[in-house]
């Protein structure tokens, strides 16, 4: 019952505090105005304002005290706000007492009162909104730092360089020296392992059983989801790194290279090194922004039946699909792509009859990350041009006549993550060699077989029999 009352009354504190602030400040303003002859008539109002202000200050102090007993705030900051609040209440009482006694002392006590109210209010605000709330507009915000790229990720410290910045970014505002919601602090490994009042949050060696991971995976609207839904959420990459850190036993003071790194973690770590916050460019979209392409260039292509679209509504990067394109003058249409070479990242030529010579033009489209050519007129002669596409990640040459000797030359393109070779002349044996020559998963020669089983062409008539 007592807990319930404390909580109920305590939760009125954020409302009540505004009354003494407003009323006492008004009292001061009225007093200063009344010093002027013109406004001397309002002097009696000062006393009434002071009385009301004092009473509301008292109510705010009581409710504030009750709130401090039930919520988890930093004790240092709480006591500062608490004592300033109590002193402010006392001063307001003194001011009320002196108002019709000693005018000389009264004018000083009013000034002190204004200063105390301002400070108490500020400390209270810091408690709820964070210490840097007021100054964050000056750009010197510390709670949401950008995570800096790491020069050599293998040499970096797992906890200190990778995990701590994530926690600082996403968790500290409620779980650090400032505030300990749920009795949890995450700003030191000791506190992290200790957990909060609902138990441990990290189970070293078992990310799946760790509450800190579990909470982030809950649906966002779930009451227990962390960080709360209105706060910025950690990226998938950050959660995965956190998982990895827990899985390897939540070490501190250890370097990344000392631990085993599954391939997806390796990729994330590499992304970290390159300063990509959101992780790998799985969507074949560069991270750097680009200016819009010229309208004329876009229209020139559209007139020729090329489907030219931004990859997303607010992106300047473009995708082009030649599925309906005018095949009368292929080279001219291909040349129209040049003015948009900075924006064009996905190019789908379908069976558009391009030739090896057109590849020379295409090789200048340096932003391309995804390229599909299906014309059988493309041969090994075009390969040297393709090598110029430094950003290419996916190459689909299904149906071209590029041979395995051509494909092997693409080995130098280290960003390539997939090459589709179905319906090209490469034999089964050559394909095997290619698969071995490239990193795993890059080469897909197709030609998959789904064998015809007896069951595929017969019917079962009775139970348990064919």
């Amino acid at each position: 019952m007592q807990q319930f009352l404390s909580e109920f009354i305590g939760h009125f504190h954020p409302v009540i505090v505004h009354l003494p602030i407003g009323i006492l400040l008004l009292a001061a303003i009225l007093y200063w105005l009344s010093l002027k002859k013109r406004y001397s008539a309002i002097r009696p109002a000062v006393r009434i304002s002071l009385l009301l202000g004092m009473l509301s200050a008292f109510a705010a102090t009581i409710s504030g005290y009750l709130l401090s007993t039930i919520d988890d705030y930093d004790q240092g900051m709480i006591s500062r706000h608490q004592w300033f609040g109590i002193v402010t209440t006392i001063i307001s009482a003194i001011a009320y007492y002196l108002e019709n006694k000693n005018q000389k002392q009264f004018q000083w006590i009013i000034l002190l009162l204004v200063i105390m109210i301002t400070l108490t209010g500020h400390f209270g605000g810091s408690l709820t909104h964070g210490e840097d709330y007021l100054t964050s507009a000056f750009g010197n915000y510390s709670s949401e730092q950008k995570i800096k790229p790491i020069a050599n990720v293998q040499e970096a410290m797992v906890y200190e360089d990778i995990i701590q910045p994530i926690l600082a970014n996403k968790c500290y505002s409620c779980h650090s020296s400032r505030k300990q919601k749920g009795g949890l602090r995450l700003d030191d490994i000791e506190w992290i392992l200790k957990g909060g009042k609902n138990g441990k949050v990290v189970k070293p060696g078992d990310a799946g059983e760790s509450e800190i991971i579990h909470r982030t995976q809950l649906p966002r609207e779930h009451e227990d989801h962390m960080p709360p839904k209105e706060k910025t959420q950690p990226s998938k990459m950050q959660i995965q790194l956190l998982k990895w850190w827990i899985a390897i036993g939540a070490p501190t003071n250890k370097k990344v290279k000392e631990f085993e790194q599954p391939s997806e973690v390796k990729e994330l770590l590499l992304a970290l090194q390159e300063g990509k916050e959101s992780g790998i460019e799985s969507l074949y979209i560069p991270n750097d922004p680009v200016g819009p392409a010229s309208e004329d260039a876009i229209n020139a292509l559209r007139v020729k039946g090329v489907v030219l679209l931004p990859v997303a509504q607010n992106s300047n990067y473009l995708s082009a699909n030649f599925i309906n394109a005018d095949t009368l003058s292929t080279s001219t249409v291909i040349a129209l792509l040049l003015p948009i070479k900075n924006q064009l990242i996905w190019l789908k030529l379908d069976e558009f009859p391009v030739t090896d010579n057109d590849l020379k033009t295409i090789s200048q489209l340096s932003s391309l990350t995804k390229l599909q050519i299906g014309s059988h007129t493309i041969s090994d002669k075009g390969i040297p041009f393709l090598k110029d596409l430094k950003n290419l990640q996916s190459l689909n040459i299904v149906g071209t006549t590029i041979s395995s000797t051509g494909v092997i030359q693409l080995k130098s393109m280290d960003r390539l993550r997939s090459i589709y070779l179905f319906k090209t002349p490469a034999s089964e044996k050559e394909c095997k060699e290619l698969i071995e020559a490239f990193p795993s998963g890059v080469i897909d020669c197709g030609g998959y077989i789904v064998p015809t089983l007896i069951g595929d062409t017969t019917e079962v008539k009775t139970a348990k029999g064919d």
Partner: protein
């Protein structure tokens, strides 16, 4: 009075006499309508209304960008109409085997309603044998020998649940987000959002097999309150792909063109008068139909595919079959169609005959789709299309762990009743993580214990993969913005690569 004046006066009088109350009402109604229309459409500056921005009446199927870069460009949805038994295909329950033949415990029956089960039914163990496959060790039964070879490409979701236990409402729920008629299907929403990449083909094509249309009828690919141009175009894999697609005898291509031009001219005049955007859609549809006369027979012809591909899918050109439809789905997606919806009828295994027995008919149904759906995934993969095409396989609900006892009597064959609480679907490609099993059911597969997924969540995930926030993709109708996922739906993050 001259004769001319007399004539004019007569004409005026005649005009007034002829103008009936009906004319007056019609004209004033038009005026009021125009006013209302103006305030609805003309002066709206609310940029949040994505609907008015997405819908361009003059060119409703023009290709559009998604809200954010989507991993998938197209969707192939394989719906097994009638609801396949998850307990014979994916959701392996050895515990259920132990309870085989025993009375169903009252805890599973109290307060529940079933379509046919009455009184106390008997539990029925899995009729198939299960094994783990692939690197992920996913459980698949011997009913799907082909699919078991590609489990590492797919995310198997064992924890889908719905609130409908009859076919038609449940199918509507899966495809339109509402158990009642009138909402647009997911394919319509997608076409509304993305348009058609190929200007000679519709954005949303429907193919059916199994001898029947799904129970919910054509509403499962209808456009609801979206402009009708976004409804699914049903094509046939036998005979003409679209009825009356050929020009009739004596009408050549030029005459067809001239007549469409004439019709469009009249339609344009009508549009000037009434400003009804549906008329523009109609004009666009006439144009599309004209182009489709050439493009559809071309894309719907599987005869030109090499033998190896026919071998792979198990297709027989000229026959209506799921295999043919699966191959067509690949061809359509290759040609830029956004959403291909396949319905295969006949999965309603109640056990009232051999064809609906889980140990006879279900095996045959599986045999009719297993090879083709496996081939579809692999064929997309080898063409580099799987990474940008989302494939979904599933039914509208699941089947009970109890043996059906229609009217309280023992059925002649082994069957299972409709079960809304738990069923299994799988997704592959289009940015979905392969080799993942999401969610769990209890030890008899009755209810969900972990990772519950609602039809809305499946829809939200599909839209997400295409680059749409399901909460922001809306259409203004009856004075409020409507969503596919209504007020629910969350993306199944666990299965996204």
């Amino acid at each position: 009075m001259t004769s001319l004046e007399h004539l004019l006066k007569k004409a005026r009088e005649e005009y007034l006499i002829q103008s009936t109350r009906r004319h007056f009402l019609k004209e004033s109604a038009m005026g009021l309508g125009a006013l209302a229309f103006g305030s609805l459409m003309g002066c709206s500056t609310d940029s949040k209304k994505a609907s008015s921005r997405l819908f361009d009446a003059a060119n409703p199927l023009s290709p559009k960008s998604p809200m954010f870069p989507g991993k998938a460009r197209a969707v192939i949805y394989l719906h097994m109409a009638g609801a396949p038994s998850q307990l014979e295909l994916f959701d392996y329950k050895p515990e259920l085997q132990k309870l085989d033949g025993q009375d169903c415990p009252p805890s599973l029956l109290e307060g529940k309603r079933f379509a046919f089960i009455r009184g106390v039914p008997k539990m029925m163990g899995p009729q198939a044998t299960f094994n783990q496959y692939g690197q992920s060790g996913a459980w698949v039964s011997n009913y799907l020998p082909h699919f078991s070879t590609i489990v590492d490409e797919a995310a198997i979701i064992k924890s889908v649940t719905t609130d409908q236990f009859n076919h038609a409402p449940a199918q509507l729920m899966m495809h339109t987000g509402s158990a009642r008629l009138g909402r647009p299907s997911i394919g319509s929403w997608v076409t509304y959002g993305l348009g058609s990449e190929n200007q000679n083909l519709p954005g949303f094509v429907v193919l059916t097999s199994g001898g029947n249309n799904p129970d919910a009828g054509k509403s499962v690919w209808g456009s609801g309150f979206l402009p009708s141009v976004y409804q699914g175009v049903q094509c046939r894999s036998e005979g003409d792909p679209v009825l009356f697609i050929k020009d009739p005898q004596g009408i050549d291509r030029d005459i067809r063109r001239a007549s469409i031009d004439a019709i469009n001219e009249i339609n344009k005049q009508q549009y000037q008068e009434s400003q009804d955007p549906e008329i523009l859609s109609r004009i666009a549809q006439y144009e599309m139909a004209y182009k489709m006369q050439i493009s559809v027979p071309e894309v719907m012809n599987i005869n030109d595919e090499p033998d190896s591909i026919h071998e792979m899918y198990g297709t027989k050109p000229g026959k209506a079959s799921f295999a043919n439809n699966a191959l067509l789905a690949r061809k359509l997606v290759e040609k830029g169609v956004r959403f291909v919806q396949l319905f295969d009828w006949g999965w309603d295994t109640h056990g009232d005959g051999p064809g609906t027995a889980v140990d006879i008919g279900l095996i045959n149904k599986c045999r009719s789709v297993d090879k083709a759906m496996t081939a579809l995934v692999l064929d997309l993969k080898q063409r580099g299309l799987l990474e940008e095409t989302l494939v979904i396989w599933g039914g509208e609900f699941g089947r009970t762990p109890m043996r059906e006892n229609r009217e309280g009597k023992t059925m002649p064959f082994k069957g299972r009743d409709h079960h809304a609480e738990a069923f299994t679907i799988w997704m592959a490609g289009g940015g979905i993580k392969g080799g993942v099993t999401h969610g769990e059911t209890d030890e008899v597969g009755y209810s969900i214990t972990k990772g519950k997924v609602e039809p809305f969540d499946v829809q939200a995930t599909i839209l997400n993969q295409l680059g749409f926030d399901h909460e922001k993709m809306t259409y203004q109708f009856q004075g409020r913005p409507f969503r596919l996922t209504d007020v629910s739906g969350r993306v199944i993050e666990d299965i996204i690569a």
